[in-house]
Amino acid sequence: MSQLPWITILTLLPLLGGAAILLSGNEKTPWPRRLALGVCLGVLGLAVWMAAHFDGASAAPQFEERHDWIPALAVEYRAGVDGLSVLMVLLTALLAPMAVLASWGVSRRPPLYFALMLWLQAGLLGTFTALNFFHWFLYWELSLIPAFFLIRLWGGARRGEAATQFFVYTMAGSVTLLLAFLALFLATGKFDLLELAGLGRSGALAPALARELGWSEAAARGGMLVIFGGVLLGFAVKTPMMPFHSWLPLTYAEAPTGVTMLLTGALSKMGMYGFLRILLPIFPGQTRQALTPLLWLTVAGIVISAGAALAQRDLKRVFAWSSINHLGYCLLGTFVLLRPGGGLAQPELEQSAALAGVLLQMFNHGLTAALLFWFTGLLARRAGGRRDLEDFGGLRRVAPVFCGLMGIAIFSSLGLPGLNGFISEFLIFKGVFPLAPWAAAASLAGLLLTAIFLLNLLQKVFNGPLAERWRGFPDLTWGERLATAPAIALLLVIGVYPQLFLRLVNGAVAGFVNQLRF
């Protein structure tokens, strides 16, 4: 492995690329988008190269960089990639060029648009690689600003409301997160995520808090629960987890296509990633205490969101609710990790399956949901902005390629065997069933509803009588086919050869599960 600071390069590349685009700044030429695509492909190449050199068997962070930063606050610059984050880095690197391609036709101030897009990507990559709270939070927040402006300036009719809701909700979560971490810092004098996790596992946080604040042991335990709540809120809003999801449907519906792809594909994973990287390792005890209500909330989220998706008529909203639904499976898989597997012979096996499923599901959902929003965007563009379920019908006949490819994505989302979604959901449920049978059973209702609304959607849009006005509905152009093809291919590849990615996370899964069993 070379000594170059690859992660910093990976993060800075889009950051500087965005600045370059903005400074080159000509609105009329195609250069901004070309430059953006170039940078994204460069990042993708780098990410793939890193994945190729990644040792999936090890649980330790790799490509690690560590430098002193703010000695007064014990802040270090510490970045690295491990099994929890490697798929997320790959996903982000993969989604960004897709989002750029999906935004090829942006006509209003393209330089700014693409610059913001790249900065958003930089924020994501930074979040997924940071191992110190300080710059992790920096990137976490940094990704908000470009997202806000992308929604605000290029969104739909209710973009003002959407952007504000998105921003204020997420900031509310961030503030509680920040306050919680400051309390941790106060107790331990550390901002390092891995070191904090070590302390959290050994149960040293509450006594430290008691010592620093002069509280009683019991009060400190209560305080830790409050701190846990703050962190939980931050991630729950971002993911989102019911009942903190209310910003999402509007935001996804109003954001421009490329942005929605990044939002649902990668931004929502920041929350999930936070659960895995921060919440569970640092607060295992507290999570256990709150486990039952959390599981109930998750299950309720799965079922309610599927039901809500069924009731929607706007395609984008359907997929937005479906996103909440799919992330619900991830949450389910994550929370059951802490269920006591008392009656089981080898609970680690089930836990490993669930965790691997969650990691893969995060990747899969990112890819699939991004594709779905992309296709919806293409559909709406062809239909002059219409994207109501009832507006269409029989498109299969006039646009077979479009319907075929979008169909693959829908079936992937639905969890059809042979496609990627099946593998990850299967793994999750394989873990959940033995660990929390009632939750798994209840979630099946959600699975069923998902099948219903997706099939309903297929039926209404692709089949049925073709409306007169869609007779001239153009099929996908070759350019569009080429652009979407790699992602579709990936859906199939993972579906038949999941080991391609699963081998990257094996070490981390084993390490994570081991650490839970103290």
Binding site: W69, I70, P71, A72, L73, F134, H135, F137, L138, W140, E141, L142, L144, I145, F148, F149, R152, L153, A157, R159, G160, E161, A163, T164, F167, V168, M171, A172, V175, T176, L178, L179, L182, A183, F185, L186, E212, L213, G214, G223, V226
Partner: protein, 507 residues
């Protein structure tokens, strides 16, 4: 070297005051030169002050019969704030380039104010500090009353009277301490070494703290701030929010808390559930944070939003002071610097870039003007400034607020949580003005039809660009590398001066 910042400023004030009124261009150039000279002296001087030491800059007998000396010295806090003053001074000149009326006079008063501010930060003698402190009051009045806008005479008078009332409290406290210490010395370290009786400290401390607190925007004595800021011309708002409010906070720390650490100790018996002045002032600071943010949320005048935001941000400084431990105190010091830069930028955008072109600051009217498209530079500057102001990481405000919050957690988790609410309200008002003023959607535009003739604003001039870039760069640089300043601040707080404060503060 640092002492020259004071001399440069007053010399510039004198020279500019002698310049005939029609020599506006020469006045501007001279002003820029003087501001740059001040900044250069501040930077060069700062580099000579080794962290953790106190560099004596000047020491001479002044009024020997009363034991008063002309004594200038700099430690890490002084250095930080002198640097801030230098930066704010340069930026203020750049954003005043379009002052056409009575230009030399404007800059003369500007530099008189600046000289006073430098003087306060560098004084080592309480009497001298107070002299500089009061010198800064009068130029403010004239800057606002002559070159201001909305209700300028009211705003100016209110500001002057509040400042003066505050300084009367300080004056009283200073006299009492001087007499109690035997009327032999005004030297700050010597006074700090005197063991004033606890009873005395307990009642003089609030006097002095509140007196300085008036200028620092301590709630509920903050009401001069919004009206004063709004009425002031751009450069004056920048200095006012940027450095003058810091005078108050600096005085709170250096004089009130430094000389009377026992004033923060617990009272004999709790009153209304509060056990000490420390708790009371911490509560007021949080009230300021939350109240300022909420008030900013409902303002219709763009500049009032920024004015109230200053109250909110200064609340962080005061809260940091009341934590009485290194992290919180250094956070407060860093927040002083950070807010100075950020508030300067905010006022520059609103007062200079927007108001001087659109001639309105009404958020509703601005919504009709499409400023985001018409003045992209202003929009970008304001966005960055707003991001910095709401405490996003990567900007200077974040590290500062982070440290303050760490301190607040220790002092009282309830306060920390209330502060979190204030931060959130801060986000909300930043987003609100950002949307209304620069990126209005159909909803905001509905009631405000665009003007008959579309606004074709004059392009943003080079000085404005320079000033904005300067301030943004500094904020980001400090945000990413707070060590730049913390290397001075933290050792300064470990000085014997604050030792007793840090010990006296533990609840």
């Amino acid at each position: 070297m640092l002492a020259w910042t004071i001399y440069f400023s007053f010399a510039a004030a004198l020279a500019l005051g002698c310049l005939p009124e029609r020599r506006a261009a020469a006045a501007r150039r001279l002003a820029l030169l003087a501001a740059l000279a001040g900044l250069a002296a501040a930077v060069a001087g700062a580099l000579r002050v080794a962290p953790g030491t106190v560099a004596v800059l000047a020491d001479a007998a002044w009024i020997p019969s009363l034991g008063i000396r002309y004594q200038l010295a700099a430690d890490g806090l002084s250095v930080t704030l002198a640097l801030l003053t230098g930066l704010a001074g340069v930026a203020g000149v750049l954003f005043s380039w379009n002052i056409e009326r009575r230009t030399p006079e404007f800059f003369a008063l500007y530099f008189a104010l600046l000289g006073g501010v430098y003087g306060v930060f560098l004084s080592q003698d309480l009497f001298l500090l107070f002299v500089f402190y009061e010198i800064a009051i009068i130029p403010k009045y004239f800057l606002i009353a002559i070159w201001g806008s909305t209700r300028r005479e009211y705003g100016a008078m209110k500001l002057a009277l509040y400042s003066f009332a505050g300084s009367a409290l300080v004056f009283a406290g200073m006299l009492i301490l001087y007499v109690a210490a035997g009327a032999r010395t005004m030297n700050l370290p010597e006074l700090a070494a005197v063991d004033f009786p606890r009873g005395l400290q307990l009642w003089v401390f609030p006097l002095v703290f509140a007196g300085f607190g008036v200028l620092a925007g301590l709630w509920p004595f903050h009401t001069w701030a919004p009206t004063g800021h709004v009425a002031a011309p751009t450069a004056a708002s920048m200095l006012l929010a940027g450095v003058v409010m810091k005078l108050g906070a600096y005085g709170c720390l250096r004089v009130a808390m430094g000389l009377m650490p026992l004033g923060l100790a617990d009272w004999a018996s709790p009153v209304l559930g509060l056990a000490s002045w420390r708790e009371l002032f911490a509560l007021l600071a949080v009230a300021g944070i939350v109240y300022g943010a909420l008030a900013a949320l409902v303002q219709g005048d763009f500049k009032f939003v920024i004015g109230y935001s200053s109250v909110s941000h200064m609340g962080f400084v005061l809260l940091g002071l009341m934590t009485l431990q290194i992290t919180g105190l250094s956070g407060a010091a860093l927040q002083m610097f950070s807010h100075g830069i950020i508030a300067g930028l905010l006022f520059a955008v609103v007062g200079r870039m927007i108001y001087d072109r659109a001639h309105t600051r009404d958020l509703g009217a601005l919504a009709g003007l499409q400023l985001g498209a018409a003045l992209p530079f202003a929009a970008v500057s304001f966005t960055l400034a707003a991001a910095a102001a709401m405490g996003l990481p990567g900007f200077s405000g974040f590290v500062a607020e982070l440290q303050v919050l760490v301190g607040a957690w220790r002092a009282s988790p309830v306060l920390a949580v209330a502060t979190g609410f204030g931060i959130l309200a801060g986000v909300a008002y930043s987003i609100r003005v950002l949307q209304r003023a620069f990126f209005p959607g159909p909803a905001e535009r509905a009631g405000n039809p665009p003007p008959a003739a579309p606004l074709v604003p004059a392009p943003i001039t080079a000085p404005e660009r320079l000033g904005a870039v300067l301030l943004i760069t500094v904020s980001v640089a400090v945000g990413l590398f707070p060590q730049l300043l913390l290397r001075w601040i933290v050792p300064a707080l470990h000085a014997p001066w604050f030792e007793r404060l840090l010990q006296g503060g533990r609840l």
